[in-house]
């Protein structure tokens, strides 16, 4: 995967030492620190994940003496993207920015980024672009090369409180949504928990888009946008997707499914033991492992009875390099990307966070360690991502300004929660408005 220009051998061992070294550098060697080129990186990771990112940065800074990477959290993915765009318009953009899979096409066509392979080549790094695991390659590669460096890749999995399931008389969650329905209602009726499931903030991704992929239902035409900018949303035409939203609505009306609301993270309601299940990214491992004080576990996302489940889709971020920076900054950015792409960092990052390893080398290394035998829930995501042969409906989503249409979908779904609309009405409205955004995007990017 990487030319390994510098030795990263002692990365893991130096984790703690790295922090100490950085502190020393700050205290004793201000002169030394000033000579380093500062590279700004805006990222979207919060909570426990932010702490791990900080470790990664400290470690990179300790691994060499030319560059100083400065990581800044700019909120969630949408907020980070908005901040970056605003900054770019006035020439204040960071060198590196982390953008979610949802922003892929927007970033790709933005004209504001330097393709990562070009940067790495110019800076003299030799990176093997064919080492990515299939689901990552299937989404991020355009003509065999990624425009951005895949960094934190994930997919939603089904998290559950094993104690609650046991108390309700179940060994583990069922494999189909029908079984899950029975179990969640039983957990509530038997008084095991007042909150059988809490709705994750990115439920549109974990409970709707991935539902469509796994059930092999089209979200949009033209292979979910992979086939061209003239794609249209069609998720309102799938009885299964409509049925899924109706199911969530009935759960919510019956008090089985709860919303955390503003000012409270849904993850907290799960890790505190209040809610029995939630469907969220495999990256929740970082938070769950460090805070949950009960027997938790995770499993594959459920599927409809009688449906052969397809793979789920990739989520999470990639690292993009922005235009308009100095050569020294690009050299630093390349050094960091090389550092990130090294199998050692990859394996460490995946183990710390729960994100899937993005390269085969890293995946094999973790597997060879026997890590997945000790932590079986860590392998669910990558197994689920690589299950079966991807179809046009399960490869992923590539829509222009997908952040925008997603926000509109969320707003429409909220009107199902409030009872103002039926599931069908809400999805119809979301498709109609979403298509306006797609047409607007097509109009702007028709030339390119």
């Amino acid at each position: 995967m990487t030319g390994n220009k510098r030795g990263h051998g002692a990365v893991i061992g130096r984790l703690l030492a790295g922090a100490a070294v950085a502190a020393l550098v700050l205290q004793a060697g201000t002169a030394l620190a000033q000579e380093r080129t500062k590279i700004e990186w805006w990222h979207a990771l919060g909570g426990r994940l932010a702490e791990i990112v900080d470790k990664l940065i400290v470690d990179f800074n300790a691994s060499q003496d030319k560059y100083e990477l400065v990581g800044i959290n700019k909120g969630n993915y949408e907020e980070t993207m908005a901040a970056m765009v605003a900054a770019y318009r006035v020439g204040q953009q960071p060198t590196l920015v982390q953008a979610a899979e949802r922003g892929f096409l927007t970033m790709l066509n933005s004209g504001a980024v330097v393709p990562v392979p070009e940067l790495m080549q110019n800076q003299g790094y030799d990176i093997k672009w064919d080492d990515f695991v299939a689901p990552v390659a299937g989404f991020f590669l355009v003509d065999g090369k990624p425009a951005a460096m895949p960094f934190n890749s994930s997919t939603p999995i089904f998290w559950y409180n094993a104690d609650h399931f046991k108390a309700a008389g179940f060994d583990k969650p069922g494999e189909t949504w029908q079984e899950i329905d029975t179990q969640l209602r039983a957990i509530k009726e038997k008084g095991v928990s007042d909150c059988s499931m809490v709705l994750a903030n990115d439920f549109f991704w974990s409970m709707l888009e991935n539902y469509a992929a796994i059930q092999d239902q089209p979200w949009g035409t033209k292979a979910n946008g992979f086939g061209g900018l003239d794609t249209e949303f069609v998720f309102n035409q799938s009885p299964m997707v409509v049925g899924q939203l109706e199911r969530l609505q009935s759960w919510m009306n019956d008090g089985v499914l709860q919303l955390a609301g503003q000012g409270l993270a849904p993850d907290q309601l799960f890790t505190s033991g209040q809610c029995s299940t939630f469907v969220a990214s495999t990256a929740a491992h970082a938070g769950v492992e460090s805070t949950a004080k009960f027997n938790w576990s995770a499993t594959f996302l459920p599927h409809e009875e009688g449906v052969e489940p397809k793979n789920s889709t990739i989520g999470g971020g990639a690292l993009w390099v922005m235009k308009g920076e100095t050569d020294a900054e690009y050299a630093g950015a390349a050094a960091f990307l090389d550092f990130v792409a090294s199998p050692t960092t990859q394996a460490w990052w995946s183990k710390e966070t729960g994100y899937v390893p993005v390269t085969m080398t890293a995946y094999e290394a973790i597997k060879a360690d026997g890590y997945y035998d000790e932590h079986p829930t860590r392998e669910i995501a990558i197994l689920q991502l690589s299950r079966g042969t991807p179809t046009d409906n399960s490869r992923g989503f590539r829509f222009g300004n997908h952040n925008q249409s997603m926000q509109l979908l969320v707003k429409e779904v909220q009107s199902v929660w409030t009872g103002e609309k039926t599931a069908q009405q809400a999805l119809d409205a979301a498709v109609e408005q979403g298509n306006q955004i797609l047409r607007q995007y097509e109009k702007l990017h028709a030339g390119g």
Binding site: V85, T106, Q262, G263, L264, N403, Q407, W417
Partner: protein, 331 residues
Amino acid sequence: MPVADGSIEIGGGASRRPRPSGGLALGRLFPRASRAGLKTAHFKQPWLAAGLLTPQLLILVFFFFIPSYKALSLAFVQVDPFGGIQIFVGLDNFLALFASADYRDSAVFTLWFSVVQNVLTLGLAGLFAFATDYVIRGRGLYRSIILMPYAIAPVISGVIWAFLFNPAVGPIAEMLQAIGIPWDPNRRPFDAQLLVIIASVWKHVCYDYIFLVAALLAVPASLLEAATLDGAGHIRRFFAISVPLITPTIFFLIVMNFVYGLFETFGVIDAMTRGGPAGATNSLVYKVYQDGFVQLDLGSSAAQSVVLMIVAVVFTVLQFRALERKVNYGV
């Protein structure tokens, strides 16, 4: 700080005519007000006048004229968020806006929110101000408690309110549910709207309170004493004498409350509901932010801010026209 200016001027002594800052604002708009008593200054050296004006003009140029020009220029184009591509679309952004049900909903919410917020804020502040005279012990404490919300950043107060009323963990929400109210601002739009109103009023009551207390202090004691001798009670005196005499302040506060409701409740909404559920608390200003900075639809966002600017100007002029006749500046 405008607060301090206003109260000092009003409490300035019996020989001067009490004139709240509302009168100053009017003076700029309506020459008649200046004839009513504003002093006119003449500068012999023009550079002094220019020098005194420059800071204010610079602020206007950088924070009003340049942004307004930018908004105007963006309102007629569709633009790639990164600024690479720009297509002139004429009035399309405006037409799309007026055809949008979301925008109408947002306008309707903003209107009734502003009115209710205004009435409640002024009513509560009036009650507190009226009561101030009758609080004998701990008057300082009483005032401090009422003034405290003003010192708390809107986002912080929003977070606190959101937590208190969170249906899953909030203590107040639990109390409400215990007495049988199915409180849930995540699913019941009216609850969310109520929450936003409560927080906005709570945040702004102190502002109105300061002005009202100061204005009430300037009501001549002789008039009140005369009324007392005539047998008027506390409440009668308040409504028959104090209120008519402080109408300029009340008028000024109504305008300020509308401005606050229209433009400054952004932080509270962002922290408590993010415009939800299903857009129930998506006020016009919050929508400008959502569409512009979250959705990155800069054309539509710019069109909305232009509309908002026109609405604000028209609204303020109408208010002055309508209310001016009932306001007695001559006392």
